[in-house]
């Protein structure tokens, strides 16, 4: 890729006048035969590269396929590498400068086409008296592929300086600006092209960012929250169905879990029969999407599993990978059947209908017309108290089930805080979420390692019963289980300190100030256990 001085917008049909004027000015000109390139701008479904400030371009030209990383700020030179197949998952790309950036930006996700274009390139070479090229002027015409009529972007002219001939390139650039009065292109063409795709750049994120009005009726706010989650579920169905990458199903499941949490933790806003019915229907969705997600987790972690074993045992784990992969197709087929089922179709359509049609006033439950801020304070504070109570009750002798219950409460608290985040001071609620996240990470590690160790033991038994494994694989799986359980013990040992951090004076003050300040404002020093205010949600 050549360095560029400046891109100009080239008005349609002005190339002959440009050539004639350059010739009149005494330049020797050589026009290379025009070239045609097929260009695809790629990014993950959640726009990892774009959010990292870059555009990924796949360019198929003269039989070569190149992958380019364009820094949108223009501060960094474009990186490129040759590739031999259409790119897909970041981890499957051949190592190279672009692959490194892509992997860092999109992780486990797949590169998907955002825009497809045809580019016709014409190079005008400005020569000296030895017929050596001093400056290259590159004219590019872009046509978006796909739906008719083909949409175009204004043609661009760029001055590509050659090393050792920068003075000449600058002179030509100055002449184009002042002598030929070309308008500079202020926006990189690829950034402009990206906006013409069917998906708006940065238009999907699984992160919650609701704009709720504190005085808004609770039922309207909850509908907004639940519709956002439904959008996320629907957006991820095609990718999960096609198994484009594991994050589609993951995001779908997280949105489902959040929906269930919202229905359970913000009660009395929707009619009770709606709450009951849809909690059950979303529990079904959570359940049918579980087996493939479990396999995804094992397969994504597989390299790390191997790396945790002594070098000599790593290869012995391969029968497990084979076992996981051999079950994947069957489980995915069942997942697709579920996603394509009438049950799913009804769930999605019926749910949207419920959320978009107003509840008749006479059927509105008690909390429906309360201001959302008051309800949010109440529900979050209730969950803060529950987390504290459960956490404080955990001792070194407590069973793992107690840790699991605490984790579930922490997750509910986190979802509630994220739903209502914009109702509170950004820095304060950000700090509270961070504090909770540290605790959740510890509990998550403890729980996930225990579940994985248990599943691996079950799988080892099944593999042995089916004659799918020999002694070396069983020993390797045993070593892996031992390692997981050791790490789980470490997480268990770290729990007391981690919880103390959450339940510290600072933590208590932070949560009280946010969710239980009352009309008099925050009281960071007060002890929640001695709270004189009755907790309306407690025990419900």
């Amino acid at each position: 890729m050549h360095q560029r001085f400046q891109d100009y917008l080239l008005p349609s049909g002005s190339k002959p006048r440009l050539v004639a004027t350059l010739t009149q000015c005494g330049w020797r000109l050589l026009e290379d035969p025009p070239g045609l390139a097929a260009v695809r701008l790629l990014d993950s479904f959640d726009w990892g590269a774009y959010l990292a400030g870059a555009i990924v371009e796949e360019r198929l030209e003269a039989g070569k396929r190149r992958l380019l990383w364009h820094d949108l700020s223009g501060g960094e030179p474009t990186l490129e590498q040759l590739i031999f197949d259409a790119p897909g998952l970041a981890r499957d790309l051949a190592p190279g400068p672009v692959q490194g950036r892509i992997l860092a930006a999109i992780g486990v996700r797949r590169l998907l086409p955002a825009v497809e274009m045809e580019v016709e390139t014409q190079v005008l070479r400005l020569l000296d008296d030895e017929e050596k090229t001093l400056v290259r002027l590159v004219i590019e015409e872009y046509r978006l592929s796909g739906k008719e009529p083909r949409r175009g972007l204004a043609s661009r002219l760029s001055v590509n300086p050659l090393k050792g001939y920068e003075v000449e390139a600058q002179a030509v650039a100055d002449w184009l600006s002042h002598g030929f009065a070309l308008e500079p292109a202020l926006r990189p063409l690829l950034a402009e092209a990206l906006t013409l795709g069917e998906r708006p750049p940065g238009g999907y994120s699984s992160k919650l960012a609701y704009r709720l009005d504190p005085a808004e009726r609770a039922d309207e706010a909850l509908r907004q929250i639940l519709l956002g989650l439904l959008d996320t579920i629907e957006a991820n169905i095609p990718g999960a169905r096609e198994n484009l990458d594991s994050e589609f199903l993951h995001d779908l499941r997280v949105a489902t879990r959040r929906t269930r949490a919202a229905l359970a933790q913000i009660p009395g806003v929707l009619p009770p029969q709606v709450e009951t019915e849809f909690r059950a229907r979303f529990a079904w969705l959570q359940q049918v999407t579980g087996p493939v997600r479990d396999l995804d987790v094992y397969l994504l972690d597989f390299d790390a599993y191997q790396a945790s074993l002594p070098q000599s045992m790593r290869g012995d784990l391969e029968p497990l990978r084979f076992y996981l992969l051999s079950h994947y197709a069957d489980e995915h087929r069942l997942l697709v059947e579920a996603l394509n089922s009438a049950t799913m179709d009804h769930l999605v359509h019926h749910w949207r209908q419920v959320l978009t049609e107003p509840t008749p006033a006479e059927m509105a439950p008690a909390n429906a017309d309360r201001p959302i801020k008051a309800l949010a304070d109440e529900r979050v504070w209730r969950m803060v108290r529950r987390v504290r109570k459960e956490g404080r009750a955990i001792t070194v002798e407590s069973p793992a089930a107690d840790m699991h219950e605490l984790r579930k409460s922490c997750k509910k608290l986190r979802y509630l805080m994220e739903f209502f985040q914009n109702l509170y001071l950004g820095q304060a609620i950000g700090g509270a979420i961070k504090l909770l996240k540290v605790l959740l990470d510890n509990l998550g590690t403890f729980q996930d390692l225990a579940v994985q160790a248990g599943h691996l033991q079950d799988m080892a038994a099944r593999m042995q019963a089916q004659g799918l494994t020999g002694t070396p694989a069983l020993l390797a799986m045993g070593a892996l289980v031992a390692d997981l359980l050791r790490r789980q013990e470490t997480a268990r040992e770290a729990f007391a300190d981690t919880f103390r951090g959450f339940d510290s004076d600072r933590g208590r003050g932070l949560f009280r100030g946010l969710f239980h300040a009352g009309p008099g404002g925050a009281d960071p020093g007060a002890e929640p256990g001695s709270d004189p205010q009755p907790d309306p949600g407690h025990g419900s």
């Binding site: 040759l82 030895e130 017929e131 050596k132 090229t133 050659l162 090393k163 050792g164």
Partner: protein, 247 residues
């Protein structure tokens, strides 16, 4: 950065054609390539249509006062840059003699370019001199075009003898190959068999003597650009593949 010297004590053996064509093929293969024209005749510079001019002249180069990067000129081919030669290089030996560490100047000058280029070709002037010693110290590989004649065989012996006697340069890999071969001459065929037997490490590819190669001076382009299908172009491609294998 891999440094390839194209060298022969004898002149007129196809050094510059080899340097230009192999440098072009290296760049075409995706290697960021620099060709340094060290010959005061500046034939490689001429072939690539660059004006022969070294800012500050050979003296600045010899004394390490010049920043090589500032002298580099892009050629008309992607990935191939040139350090032009000029007539001021003719007294390079005398100038090097005055410099500190006179046999390591070339290597010292090239070091700052290590991140910018994957492959550097040195197109060397004929003769054996202080400049040649610099090339032997700097290069990882030395390609030695050898015309199947008795005199060429003799200069190859002289070169290998010199390298064997000079411990400091004995690590360099010397890869002779036959150049300007006229397969119609029985005398050449016999001589080639004898030389190949004496130098078992010799590259297998031989470059034929053809009008296509000779016309590089008219086209002022690498052979691959104006006659990619000719036998000599195929031979250079095979030679580059073999060098990469051996390197």
């Amino acid at each position: 950065m891999n440094i390839v010297g194209v060298y022969s004590i004898k002149g007129g053996v196809g050094k510059t054609a080899t340097a230009v064509n192999l440098a072009y093929l290296a760049a075409e293969g995706g290697s960021r390539t620099l060709l340094w024209d060290l010959d005061p005749q500046a034939a490689a510079t001429f072939y690539l249509r660059v004006k022969p001019k070294v800012k500050g002249g050979g003296k600045s180069l010899a004394h390490g006062r010049t920043d090589l990067d500032g002298l580099v000129k892009a050629t008309d081919f992607d990935g191939l840059d040139l350090l032009p030669g000029d007539f001021s290089l003719r007294n390079m030996d005398l100038m090097l003699e005055d410099a500190k560490r006179p046999t390591k100047q070339l290597l010292r000058l090239l070091r700052p370019l290590a991140d910018a280029y994957d492959t550097v070709f040195l197109d060397c002037p004929p003769s054996i001199s202080l400049l040649s010693e610099n090339v032997f110290r700097a290069a990882d590989l030395l390609l030695v075009p050898t015309v199947p004649t008795t005199l060429s065989e003799r200069t190859l012996d002289q070169l290998t003898g010199f390298l064997a006697d000079h411990v400091r340069v004995s690590g360099i890999e010397v890869l002779p190959f036959f150049s300007m071969v006229n397969s119609g001459l029985p005398l050449q065929v016999g001589l080639m068999e004898r030389v190949a037997a004496r130098y078992p490490g010799m590259l297998r590819t031989a470059i034929p003597l053809t009008a296509d190669v000779e016309s590089m001076g008219i086209h002022r382009l690498p052979l691959q650009v104006y006659a990619p299908g000719c036998p000599a172009a195929h031979a250079y491609r095979a030679l580059w593949a073999e060098v990469q294998e051996r390197g």
